[in-house]
Symmetry: C2
Subunit: 167 residues, 2 copies
Protein backbone atom coordinates (compact mmCIF):
# COMPACT_ATOMS: atom_id res chain seq x y z
CA UNK A 1 0.00 0.00 0.00
CA UNK A 2 2.99 2.29 0.43
CA UNK A 3 4.13 4.56 -2.36
CA UNK A 4 0.88 3.93 -4.21
CA UNK A 5 1.00 7.52 -5.34
CA UNK A 6 4.20 8.58 -7.08
CA UNK A 7 6.14 11.72 -6.24
CA UNK A 8 4.27 14.80 -7.42
CA UNK A 9 5.30 18.28 -8.44
CA UNK A 10 6.46 20.32 -5.43
CA UNK A 11 6.82 17.29 -3.13
CA UNK A 12 10.59 17.78 -2.92
CA UNK A 13 10.13 21.48 -2.23
CA UNK A 14 7.71 20.90 0.64
CA UNK A 15 9.87 18.14 2.09
CA UNK A 16 12.76 20.63 2.11
CA UNK A 17 10.51 22.89 4.22
CA UNK A 18 9.84 19.98 6.61
CA UNK A 19 13.61 19.39 6.77
CA UNK A 20 14.11 23.00 7.90
CA UNK A 21 11.85 22.17 10.84
CA UNK A 22 13.90 19.03 11.55
CA UNK A 23 17.02 21.23 11.69
CA UNK A 24 15.32 23.40 14.33
CA UNK A 25 14.60 20.26 16.40
CA UNK A 26 18.26 19.20 16.04
CA UNK A 27 19.44 22.59 17.30
CA UNK A 28 17.12 22.30 20.31
CA UNK A 29 18.40 18.83 21.23
CA UNK A 30 15.21 17.10 20.10
CA UNK A 31 15.06 14.06 17.82
CA UNK A 32 15.21 15.90 14.46
CA UNK A 33 11.85 15.32 12.81
CA UNK A 34 9.92 18.08 11.05
CA UNK A 35 6.55 18.42 9.36
CA UNK A 36 4.59 20.89 7.27
CA UNK A 37 0.97 20.77 6.13
CA UNK A 38 -0.05 22.09 2.73
CA UNK A 39 -3.65 23.12 2.01
CA UNK A 40 -4.75 23.02 -1.63
CA UNK A 41 -8.49 23.39 -2.20
CA UNK A 42 -9.58 22.80 -5.82
CA UNK A 43 -8.81 25.80 -8.03
CA UNK A 44 -6.64 27.54 -5.42
CA UNK A 45 -2.90 27.78 -5.03
CA UNK A 46 -1.35 25.47 -2.43
CA UNK A 47 -0.29 27.12 0.82
CA UNK A 48 1.68 25.93 3.85
CA UNK A 49 -0.68 26.30 6.83
CA UNK A 50 1.39 24.54 9.53
CA UNK A 51 5.07 24.05 10.33
CA UNK A 52 6.24 22.08 13.34
CA UNK A 53 9.03 20.00 14.79
CA UNK A 54 9.34 17.39 17.47
CA UNK A 55 9.19 18.96 20.97
CA UNK A 56 8.95 15.92 23.26
CA UNK A 57 11.77 17.02 25.55
CA UNK A 58 10.94 20.74 25.67
CA UNK A 59 7.27 20.14 26.45
CA UNK A 60 7.96 16.96 28.47
CA UNK A 61 5.18 15.45 26.42
CA UNK A 62 5.52 12.08 24.70
CA UNK A 63 2.73 13.09 22.33
CA UNK A 64 4.46 16.27 21.10
CA UNK A 65 5.52 14.77 17.77
CA UNK A 66 5.98 17.11 14.78
CA UNK A 67 2.90 15.67 13.07
CA UNK A 68 0.61 16.15 16.10
CA UNK A 69 1.65 19.77 16.56
CA UNK A 70 1.28 20.45 12.83
CA UNK A 71 -2.19 18.86 12.75
CA UNK A 72 -3.38 21.01 15.66
CA UNK A 73 -1.95 24.14 13.98
CA UNK A 74 -3.65 23.33 10.68
CA UNK A 75 -6.97 22.73 12.46
CA UNK A 76 -6.63 26.11 14.15
CA UNK A 77 -5.81 27.77 10.84
CA UNK A 78 -8.82 26.23 9.06
CA UNK A 79 -11.04 26.54 12.17
CA UNK A 80 -12.08 22.98 11.47
CA UNK A 81 -10.91 19.59 12.69
CA UNK A 82 -11.39 18.10 9.23
CA UNK A 83 -8.22 18.71 7.24
CA UNK A 84 -9.79 18.41 3.82
CA UNK A 85 -7.51 19.09 0.84
CA UNK A 86 -4.46 18.83 3.10
CA UNK A 87 -1.17 17.00 2.56
CA UNK A 88 1.24 16.42 5.44
CA UNK A 89 4.97 16.27 4.69
CA UNK A 90 6.98 14.65 7.47
CA UNK A 91 10.65 13.78 7.38
CA UNK A 92 10.19 10.34 8.98
CA UNK A 93 7.62 7.55 8.68
CA UNK A 94 4.89 8.33 11.25
CA UNK A 95 4.27 6.20 14.35
CA UNK A 96 0.97 4.58 15.38
CA UNK A 97 -0.22 7.67 17.27
CA UNK A 98 0.44 10.03 14.36
CA UNK A 99 -1.13 7.66 11.81
CA UNK A 100 -4.22 7.52 14.02
CA UNK A 101 -4.32 11.32 14.26
CA UNK A 102 -4.07 11.61 10.45
CA UNK A 103 -7.03 9.29 9.99
CA UNK A 104 -9.07 11.16 12.63
CA UNK A 105 -8.34 14.54 11.02
CA UNK A 106 -9.13 13.20 7.52
CA UNK A 107 -5.81 14.25 6.00
CA UNK A 108 -5.91 13.61 2.27
CA UNK A 109 -2.30 12.66 1.63
CA UNK A 110 0.82 11.71 3.60
CA UNK A 111 4.33 12.20 2.21
CA UNK A 112 7.33 11.08 4.21
CA UNK A 113 11.06 10.80 3.81
CA UNK A 114 12.99 8.17 5.78
CA UNK A 115 11.68 4.89 7.17
CA UNK A 116 11.47 4.38 10.92
CA UNK A 117 12.29 0.71 11.38
CA UNK A 118 11.48 0.74 15.09
CA UNK A 119 8.16 2.55 15.28
CA UNK A 120 7.00 3.47 11.76
CA UNK A 121 3.39 2.40 11.29
CA UNK A 122 3.10 2.73 7.51
CA UNK A 123 5.59 0.11 6.35
CA UNK A 124 7.91 -0.85 9.20
CA UNK A 125 5.50 -2.34 11.79
CA UNK A 126 3.02 -3.07 9.01
CA UNK A 127 0.68 -0.56 7.39
CA UNK A 128 -1.85 0.58 9.97
CA UNK A 129 -3.31 3.08 7.48
CA UNK A 130 -4.47 0.12 5.39
CA UNK A 131 -6.68 -1.44 8.11
CA UNK A 132 -9.84 -1.92 6.03
CA UNK A 133 -12.37 -0.93 8.72
CA UNK A 134 -10.93 2.60 9.08
CA UNK A 135 -13.43 5.24 7.96
CA UNK A 136 -10.88 7.29 6.01
CA UNK A 137 -8.12 6.30 3.65
CA UNK A 138 -4.99 8.33 3.04
CA UNK A 139 -2.84 8.48 -0.09
CA UNK A 140 0.77 7.75 0.75
CA UNK A 141 4.04 8.64 -0.93
CA UNK A 142 7.24 7.43 0.75
CA UNK A 143 10.92 8.13 0.20
CA UNK A 144 10.89 11.87 -0.63
CA UNK A 145 14.38 13.27 0.10
CA UNK A 146 14.92 10.02 2.00
CA UNK A 147 18.70 10.40 2.34
CA UNK A 148 18.62 13.91 3.79
CA UNK A 149 15.82 12.97 6.19
CA UNK A 150 17.74 9.92 7.34
CA UNK A 151 21.12 11.70 7.49
CA UNK A 152 20.03 14.31 10.03
CA UNK A 153 18.72 11.54 12.31
CA UNK A 154 21.98 9.58 12.06
CA UNK A 155 23.98 12.72 12.91
CA UNK A 156 21.76 13.40 15.91
CA UNK A 157 22.05 9.92 17.37
CA UNK A 158 25.80 9.87 16.75
CA UNK A 159 26.10 13.15 18.68
CA UNK A 160 23.98 11.71 21.52
CA UNK A 161 26.22 8.62 21.70
CA UNK A 162 29.36 10.75 21.71
CA UNK A 163 27.89 12.91 24.47
CA UNK A 164 27.21 9.83 26.58
CA UNK A 165 30.70 8.50 26.04
CA UNK A 166 32.24 11.78 27.26
CA UNK A 167 30.03 12.09 30.35
CA UNK B 1 -4.37 -10.45 24.51
CA UNK B 2 -7.30 -8.46 25.88
CA UNK B 3 -8.44 -8.88 29.46
CA UNK B 4 -5.19 -10.66 30.28
CA UNK B 5 -5.28 -8.96 33.65
CA UNK B 6 -8.48 -9.46 35.63
CA UNK B 7 -10.41 -6.66 37.32
CA UNK B 8 -8.52 -5.37 40.35
CA UNK B 9 -9.52 -3.69 43.57
CA UNK B 10 -10.68 -0.11 42.94
CA UNK B 11 -11.05 -0.57 39.16
CA UNK B 12 -14.81 -0.05 39.36
CA UNK B 13 -14.31 3.02 41.54
CA UNK B 14 -11.89 4.67 39.13
CA UNK B 15 -14.07 3.80 36.13
CA UNK B 16 -16.95 5.57 37.90
CA UNK B 17 -14.68 8.63 38.05
CA UNK B 18 -14.02 8.32 34.31
CA UNK B 19 -17.79 8.06 33.79
CA UNK B 20 -18.26 11.39 35.60
CA UNK B 21 -16.00 12.90 32.95
CA UNK B 22 -18.07 11.24 30.21
CA UNK B 23 -21.18 12.89 31.69
CA UNK B 24 -19.45 16.29 31.43
CA UNK B 25 -18.76 15.59 27.73
CA UNK B 26 -22.41 14.62 27.24
CA UNK B 27 -23.57 17.88 28.78
CA UNK B 28 -21.23 19.83 26.48
CA UNK B 29 -22.55 18.08 23.35
CA UNK B 30 -19.36 16.07 22.87
CA UNK B 31 -19.23 12.31 22.28
CA UNK B 32 -19.37 11.18 25.94
CA UNK B 33 -16.03 9.57 26.66
CA UNK B 34 -14.08 10.19 29.86
CA UNK B 35 -10.71 9.20 31.27
CA UNK B 36 -8.75 9.40 34.50
CA UNK B 37 -5.13 8.48 35.19
CA UNK B 38 -4.11 6.94 38.51
CA UNK B 39 -0.52 7.11 39.74
CA UNK B 40 0.57 4.43 42.19
CA UNK B 41 4.30 4.25 42.84
CA UNK B 42 5.41 1.25 44.93
CA UNK B 43 4.64 1.73 48.64
CA UNK B 44 2.49 4.83 48.07
CA UNK B 45 -1.25 5.30 47.98
CA UNK B 46 -2.82 5.58 44.51
CA UNK B 47 -3.86 9.05 43.44
CA UNK B 48 -5.82 10.42 40.49
CA UNK B 49 -3.46 12.80 38.68
CA UNK B 50 -5.52 13.54 35.55
CA UNK B 51 -9.21 13.81 34.64
CA UNK B 52 -10.38 14.61 31.13
CA UNK B 53 -13.18 14.22 28.64
CA UNK B 54 -13.51 14.33 24.91
CA UNK B 55 -13.31 17.93 23.58
CA UNK B 56 -13.09 17.47 19.83
CA UNK B 57 -15.90 19.90 19.02
CA UNK B 58 -15.04 22.55 21.62
CA UNK B 59 -11.38 22.67 20.62
CA UNK B 60 -12.10 21.93 16.93
CA UNK B 61 -9.32 19.38 17.29
CA UNK B 62 -9.69 15.81 16.04
CA UNK B 63 -6.88 14.79 18.42
CA UNK B 64 -8.62 16.12 21.57
CA UNK B 65 -9.68 12.71 22.81
CA UNK B 66 -10.13 12.19 26.55
CA UNK B 67 -7.06 9.93 26.71
CA UNK B 68 -4.78 12.43 24.93
CA UNK B 69 -5.78 15.30 27.22
CA UNK B 70 -5.42 13.07 30.30
CA UNK B 71 -1.97 11.89 29.21
CA UNK B 72 -0.75 15.47 28.73
CA UNK B 73 -2.18 16.45 32.14
CA UNK B 74 -0.48 13.51 33.85
CA UNK B 75 2.84 14.34 32.18
CA UNK B 76 2.53 17.90 33.44
CA UNK B 77 1.71 16.68 36.93
CA UNK B 78 4.69 14.31 37.06
CA UNK B 79 6.92 16.75 35.12
CA UNK B 80 7.94 13.77 33.05
CA UNK B 81 6.76 12.29 29.77
CA UNK B 82 7.22 8.78 31.11
CA UNK B 83 4.04 7.80 32.93
CA UNK B 84 5.60 5.11 35.09
CA UNK B 85 3.31 3.45 37.65
CA UNK B 86 0.26 4.91 35.89
CA UNK B 87 -3.03 3.27 34.97
CA UNK B 88 -5.43 4.95 32.56
CA UNK B 89 -9.17 4.33 32.97
CA UNK B 90 -11.18 5.23 29.89
CA UNK B 91 -14.86 4.57 29.33
CA UNK B 92 -14.41 3.34 25.75
CA UNK B 93 -11.87 1.17 23.94
CA UNK B 94 -9.12 3.53 22.71
CA UNK B 95 -8.49 4.27 19.02
CA UNK B 96 -5.21 3.87 17.13
CA UNK B 97 -3.99 7.36 18.04
CA UNK B 98 -4.64 6.92 21.75
CA UNK B 99 -3.10 3.43 21.81
CA UNK B 100 0.00 4.89 20.18
CA UNK B 101 0.13 7.70 22.75
CA UNK B 102 -0.14 5.18 25.60
CA UNK B 103 2.81 3.21 24.24
CA UNK B 104 4.86 6.40 23.75
CA UNK B 105 4.15 7.61 27.29
CA UNK B 106 4.92 4.15 28.77
CA UNK B 107 1.60 3.81 30.58
CA UNK B 108 1.67 0.66 32.72
CA UNK B 109 -1.93 -0.43 32.48
CA UNK B 110 -5.05 0.36 30.44
CA UNK B 111 -8.57 -0.27 31.76
CA UNK B 112 -11.56 0.41 29.58
CA UNK B 113 -15.31 -0.05 29.66
CA UNK B 114 -17.23 -0.45 26.41
CA UNK B 115 -15.95 -1.74 23.08
CA UNK B 116 -15.72 0.60 20.11
CA UNK B 117 -16.56 -1.64 17.16
CA UNK B 118 -15.73 1.07 14.60
CA UNK B 119 -12.41 2.42 15.77
CA UNK B 120 -11.25 0.53 18.87
CA UNK B 121 -7.66 -0.57 18.42
CA UNK B 122 -7.37 -3.07 21.29
CA UNK B 123 -9.88 -5.70 20.20
CA UNK B 124 -12.20 -4.30 17.54
CA UNK B 125 -9.79 -3.48 14.67
CA UNK B 126 -7.32 -6.01 16.06
CA UNK B 127 -4.97 -5.45 19.00
CA UNK B 128 -2.42 -2.83 18.01
CA UNK B 129 -0.96 -2.88 21.54
CA UNK B 130 0.17 -6.44 20.86
CA UNK B 131 2.38 -5.59 17.85
CA UNK B 132 5.52 -7.45 18.93
CA UNK B 133 8.07 -4.84 17.77
CA UNK B 134 6.67 -2.12 20.05
CA UNK B 135 9.16 -1.10 22.72
CA UNK B 136 6.62 -1.06 25.57
CA UNK B 137 3.86 -3.44 26.50
CA UNK B 138 0.74 -2.43 28.40
CA UNK B 139 -1.42 -4.57 30.70
CA UNK B 140 -5.04 -4.44 29.57
CA UNK B 141 -8.32 -5.01 31.40
CA UNK B 142 -11.50 -4.62 29.36
CA UNK B 143 -15.21 -4.50 30.26
CA UNK B 144 -15.13 -2.52 33.51
CA UNK B 145 -18.62 -0.99 34.02
CA UNK B 146 -19.18 -1.87 30.39
CA UNK B 147 -22.94 -1.35 30.43
CA UNK B 148 -22.85 2.13 31.93
CA UNK B 149 -20.04 3.19 29.59
CA UNK B 150 -21.97 1.91 26.60
CA UNK B 151 -25.34 3.27 27.79
CA UNK B 152 -24.22 6.91 27.90
CA UNK B 153 -22.92 6.61 24.31
CA UNK B 154 -26.21 5.10 23.08
CA UNK B 155 -28.17 7.89 24.75
CA UNK B 156 -25.94 10.50 23.15
CA UNK B 157 -26.25 9.15 19.63
CA UNK B 158 -30.01 8.69 20.03
CA UNK B 159 -30.27 12.36 21.06
CA UNK B 160 -28.16 13.40 18.04
CA UNK B 161 -30.40 11.38 15.70
CA UNK B 162 -33.55 12.90 17.23
CA UNK B 163 -32.08 16.39 16.87
CA UNK B 164 -31.38 15.73 13.19
CA UNK B 165 -34.90 14.42 12.62
CA UNK B 166 -36.40 17.59 14.15
CA UNK B 167 -34.22 20.01 12.20
Amino acid sequence: MVGLIGIQKNDEFYMAEALKEAVKAFEEGEVPIGAVIVHEPPGENPRIIARAHNQVELLRDATAHAEMIAITQAEEHLENWRLQFCTIYVTVEPCMMCCGAMVLSRIKRLCYGARDEKAGAVESLGNLLAIPQLNHSIEVTAGIRQEECSQILSEFFQKVREGKRKS
